[in-house]
Amino acid sequence: MDFARFFADLWTARFALLEGVGMTLVISVLSIILGTILGIGVALSLVYGGRIQRFVVRVFLECVRGIPVFVLILACYYLLSQAGIQLTPFQAGVVALTVFCSSHVGENLRGALLALPRGQTEAAKAIGLTFRQTFVYILAPQALRQAVPAWINTAAELVKASTLLSVIGVVELILTTRQIIAIKPRPLEFYFVAGMVYFLICFSIERLGRRAERRLALPS
């Protein structure tokens, strides 16, 4: 292994690599944010919605969770262009990952809300809080706290799923790496670099997550 030559190549490729990493991060962050917002809506529909609403959302949820994320990405990519919505691969990919994220966030949040003891709602009612007030001041804070570990997990899963967007042509880190290797054939070295980046990102998410959990924990 020729380190000097490798580092020279690495240096030459630095901008491409940084762009690739940047794209991976943009995809992930965008999908996480949009997916979480959608996921909150999903959870609220499942817990407080009317019968039809709950049924529709439940069907949607089971379908999304039953298919692999790769199939979701491919389906979004091909289907959306067929439906006349002209999306770039990036946009189609983010849509797919957003839907994927929302299914996880929705299910987790629903679980967290349902796990809250009934006594909390009763105590809130007893002092005269309206449903909106009960949800905002009593239920949501507790449910969100409960849902943080699972959410951190989902975020890491999304970063890992972003790699699949390379298959539909989005130039994120994996595709960038492959492109670089096509020019400067050092597969082991460049894949190692890419692997380290993914490891660092996911590991940091996990670490930050645990720190956040500790900060949020109630004193006992």
Binding site: G128, Y137, S220
Partner: protein, 254 residues
């Protein structure tokens, strides 16, 4: 003739097909302390929970200070709007068997929440009232503690402060010592006794017979969804008229 503070008339309630309350009548004047005793399934907790509409009821009426609770008067009998019901609920205060403190708020936070969000008091006023009542139940020193840091008895006392700080017309106690370790029961009972001595109107469901005997002005014995007997503690405990009550008291080892 002054309006009774609480007037329950011909209360009927069904759970699915089973009738749990079969026509209950109860009247309370301001300052009354009424204990409800009876075996599990007698409907006592259900009746209590109807008063602040945590349970709905199909027939009968409940009036607090003359105001119809939960439903408009017969024959119309329409369920009131949720915001209306929320307001009516703030006229009573309830203390639960499982305390049900909000774990993500301090003791002070638990007490001030209703004052700021329901009574819409400004924060400093709310804090002042909250601190007064926390002091009253002996929890002033721990006002910045979270429920997770408090013992069962301490939590229940905060729960009492939370309910009473709302200045309710009637305080409802639902077996508030049943979930406590024996050595913590007395600290809570003593707080309730002193509140009663101050003239608070209270309706208590309890298993603590000795306590009921000491603190109540009237004791009500419920059996299978009806009030079998009611009267002064002396009468009920020393001189039970109905056979069921006598049997119940024997088993309760009073």
């Amino acid at each position: 003739m002054t309006t009774p503070v609480l007037e329950i008339t011909d209360l009927h309630k069904k759970f699915k097909e089973i009738e749990v309350l079969k026509g209950v009548d109860l009247t309370m004047a301001t300052g009354d302390v009424v204990s409800i005793i009876g075996s599990s399934g007698s409907g006592k907790t259900t009746m209590l929970r109807c008063v602040n509409l945590l349970e709905d009821f199909q027939q009968g009426s409940i009036r607090i200070d003359g105001e119809e609770i939960g439903y408009t008067a017969a024959p119309e009998r329409r369920r009131r709007k949720e915001s209306e019901i929320a307001r009516q609920r703030s006229m009573t205060g309830m203390v639960f068997q499982q305390f049900n403190l909000f774990p993500h708020m301090t003791a002070l936070g638990n007490v001030t929440l209703g004052l700021t969000k329901v009574k819409k008091l400004p924060k400093p006023d709310a804090i002042a009232i909250a601190e007064k009542w926390l002091e009253r139940v002996g929890m002033a020193e721990r006002r910045n503690h979270y429920p997770g840091q408090l013992s069962g008895g301490q939590q229940q006392r905060v729960a009492i402060a939370r309910a009473i700080a709302m200045n309710p017309k009637v305080m409802l106690f639902d077996e508030v010592t049943s979930a406590l370790d024996p050595e913590l029961v007395n600290e809570v009972l003593n707080v309730i006794k002193s509140l009663a001595a101050d003239g608070m109107t209270m309706l208590l469901v309890t298993h603590e017979m000795k306590f009921a005997y000491e603190v109540s002005r009237r004791v009500v014995f419920m059996n299978q969804g009806r009030i079998d007997e009611q009267g002064a503690p002396e009468e009920i405990f020393r001189n039970p008229q109905s056979k069921r009550l006598a049997e119940f008291l024997k088993n309760a080892k009073f």
